[in-house]
Symmetry: C2
Subunit: 460 residues, 2 copies
């Protein structure tokens, strides 16, 4: 409740809500030299706040490696626009210094013709692996893995490996912690930590010091599940195997972090019926087709709720005070149901729902619905009695509130579980379905009880 | 829209919603030996699905290191209960094999007396660092960092360092990739990657091969900001400095991942007015005090909306069809506003809102509000005209819908930005404030326009 108090400040401070509009505009970059000192992620942030043409000019003025990395760091919407505007020459310059999987991600956004043209301009030693990576879905292990990893042969001696690493150090990316031990067919047999390799007696064989039990991903694994595994088991990195068990890439926890943050919060958007990624600065033309469809679906369901009210128009005509309290019953149900729904969807998103949990959640929500319903029902019942002076109205509202709170809690569990069973993302538009249930149930309980009451006692 | 189609299956498949209740119950563990083969995170999952006493028995039957790590992996609610039930002896056994920061996390959940008793039972070389870690807030860098890291002295030769590492390997945790170079006062001067150290010429000094520009965290940094930094810059790990710039710990990306997932999704819960972490299996007694307060706050705001309807009770008495369409106007506003709100809050959670973005978002939402309002307004206007045969009603609904869609979009931006300016978490109960705005505005526009229309033309 103390939080509620903090919020009460709002009422007094409302006039300053205006102020935030005056807060500074983004600071424009000064010179390409100055800008290129920054981290590519920050360069990307700066550029995507400029008008498109201006951003392109800055991008082309930056050194190729900075500009290329900045392109990789941009948000999807903006990057897509940038790529479609860049000339082939310019794009080739930016793509050259990138890692293969970064190149593949960028190329995937081009049309088939542009893709082919760009690939022809890449040196063959880059084009081949890039082409291979392009086969994997964007949100699969194959789509997010890097192909910069080091394999050791089982039969090699520790010393031979150390030599080889020493001479190839320029090819090792800096964060290499594990080396993958494979047989002649590139099949994964074990892993050796870089530290173990360094400290092992030089005469030993790799197969003697390797750890044999190795967790691994498959190229087609979904990134949401991968992120769950990394979080659950605290992996630092995992090898990725193709269908023949060959090591074809590696995924590191630092790659997963951004994906995890986006995946985890994506459900927030799905819940309210936003189909597809949207950001605060996504242009409205792109936003509209992502928002309007579900609003129209919701309209359909709203008519269902309205039809329930329509059935009881006669009751309302006799007793107009009902119209005042209708939205309270339905609204409180919606809010309570959203609380339940959010708890369930969040657990599902974090991968923490196990078989059998649905049943237990139902039991819990039943009790909570009754407890919340009693508490809120009494308050609304008493207030409405005092306001309109009708004891009957008080009882009707109390009963409707109690029933609707229970319905809200149950719907909050049943909707996501049902969507999941239908193999639809449980977050998808779940809040819209929920408010349909709570509106229909709220209106029905309230007006049905009111109609019953009208037969017994005349209203006020 | 194709997604909407997928959902339509719901209507036909509703009866099977019942089925999921029948899905299997959790598989109980068979023997302590079998259970201890699993990863501690999986052991924790299994135990927290058992009744408390049974879970405790299993925990005490497991080897100390497995049981201790499982305790660390449990969800907060359940761990708290377990810790309060464990005897001191039992707790000491579980805590001994843990890392200092894990011990500190567990001890922090005990009362002051139990804390002291437990600390006395720890060997002094563990008790001192644990006591130090206990000073830091749970959600700060100090609260999440590990104190297992290796420092090198600037003046040492590469060879001396290699020797030292070789002899201390048992103390190194396995995922050490970076070593921290410090001066006599433990002040951070640079970092050396393990790989560089291994391959550097033995005669060089550490200070010659170290990288001097080092990103670092401060002990008091908040974990939400830390997670944003890790995701933005793809760090694998960062050293943590105290107020005197001394290295006191290290945070790795694998530690951040779970925190990031929870932080990112926590906003979903805050938005719907859930104060404090709740999971599907959180016992109802703990859930009630987290849910009811905001429902009661919402009740207050619902009365405000009801008062608006109350002002126009006379209008409704003359024209009861209004009561049927009231919830549609308000509900559509609520849904559209939630879409906007969610986009903004998600961007804020991911740290992607910059100064000046608020202004641009307002402009965007204004356009979207008009576009959505026109589209939905026309549909509802026409349907209501066909249903009730009143052209006046159609126009009234169209106008109210248009105005309320705009109000919803603006509120969806203004509410989170205002909360942020008030230094309240922008997600906190924002959906409740939003529906208040959309209800009040929706009821007002609709009934005000209806009252105006009544003066001109008789209804129907």
């Amino acid at each position: 409740m103390w939080q509620a108090y903090g919020i009460m400040k709002l009422v007094w401070l409302a006039p300053m809500a205006r102020d935030f509009l005056e807060c500074m505009n983004p600071i424009p970059p000064t010179t390409p030299e100055e800008l290129s000192q920054h981290h590519p992620a920050d360069i990307a942030d700066a550029l995507q706040r400029l008008p498109l043409q201006e951003g392109l000019e800055w991008l082309n003025a930056l050194p190729a490696d900075r500009a290329g990395r900045a392109l990789v760091e941009m948000e999807d919407d903006f990057r897509e626009e940038v790529i479609s505007e860049l000339k082939l020459e310019e794009l080739v310059r930016l793509v050259r210094p990138l890692e293969h999987h970064e190149t593949a991600d960028l190329i995937a956004e081009l049309g088939p013709d542009a893709q082919q043209q760009l690939m022809q301009r890449l040196p063959e030693r880059d084009a081949r692996p890039v082409r291979r990576l392009l086969h994997y879905a964007e949100d699969s292990a194959g789509g997010i893995m890097s192909d910069r990893f080091v394999t050791l042969s089982m039969m090699d001696s520790v010393e031979a490996c150390q030599q080889r690493l020493r001479h190839n150090q320029q090819f090792l990316s800096e964060d290499i912690s594990y080396l993958y031990v494979v047989d002649e067919g590139q099949i994964l047999k074990g892993i050796v930590s870089f530290r173990d390799l360094v400290f092992a007696p030089p005469g030993r064989q790799v197969s003697e010091i390797m750890r044999k039990q190795v967790a691994a991903l498959r190229v087609h694994d979904d990134q949401e599940e991968i992120s769950r595994q990394f979080a659950h088991y605290h992996y630092l990195g995992l090898p990725v195997l193709d269908d023949q068990d060959r090591v074809v890439g590696v995924v590191r926890s630092s790659d997963i972090l951004e994906i995890a943050r986006e995946e985890a919060t994506e459900d927030m958007q799905l819940m309210v019926g936003l189909s597809g990624e949207e950001r605060a600065l996504t242009p409205w033309k792109r936003s509209l087709p992502r928002r309007l469809p579900w609003l129209l679906v919701n309209l359909l369901t709203a008519f269902v709720a309205a039809a329930v009210v329509g059935m009881y128009e006669g009751v309302i005509a006799q007793w107009t005070a009902l119209a005042v309290f209708l939205p309270i019953v339905a609204g409180q149900g919606g809010n309570a149901g959203m609380q339940t729904l959010t708890v369930i969807i969040r657990d599902m998103a974090l991968g923490e729902i196990s078989p059998g949990d649905g049943r237990r959640a139902i039991g819990k929500e039943l009790i909570l619905g009754i407890a919340n319903g009693m508490a809120i029902g009494v308050v609304v019942g008493v207030v409405s009695y005092l306001w309109k002076g009708s004891m009957t109205l008080g009882w009707v509202i109390f009963a409707a509130m109690l029933f609707n709170q229970v319905a809200a809690g149950l719907a909050g569990v049943l909707i996501p579980f049902t969507l999941k069973r239908l193999r639809v993302d449980p977050a998808l538009a779940s809040s819209i379905f929920l408010t349909t249930v709570t509106d229909v149930a709220g209106f029905f309980f309230f007006l049905y009880f009111a109609a019953l009451a009208l037969r017994w006692a005349a209203p006020v």
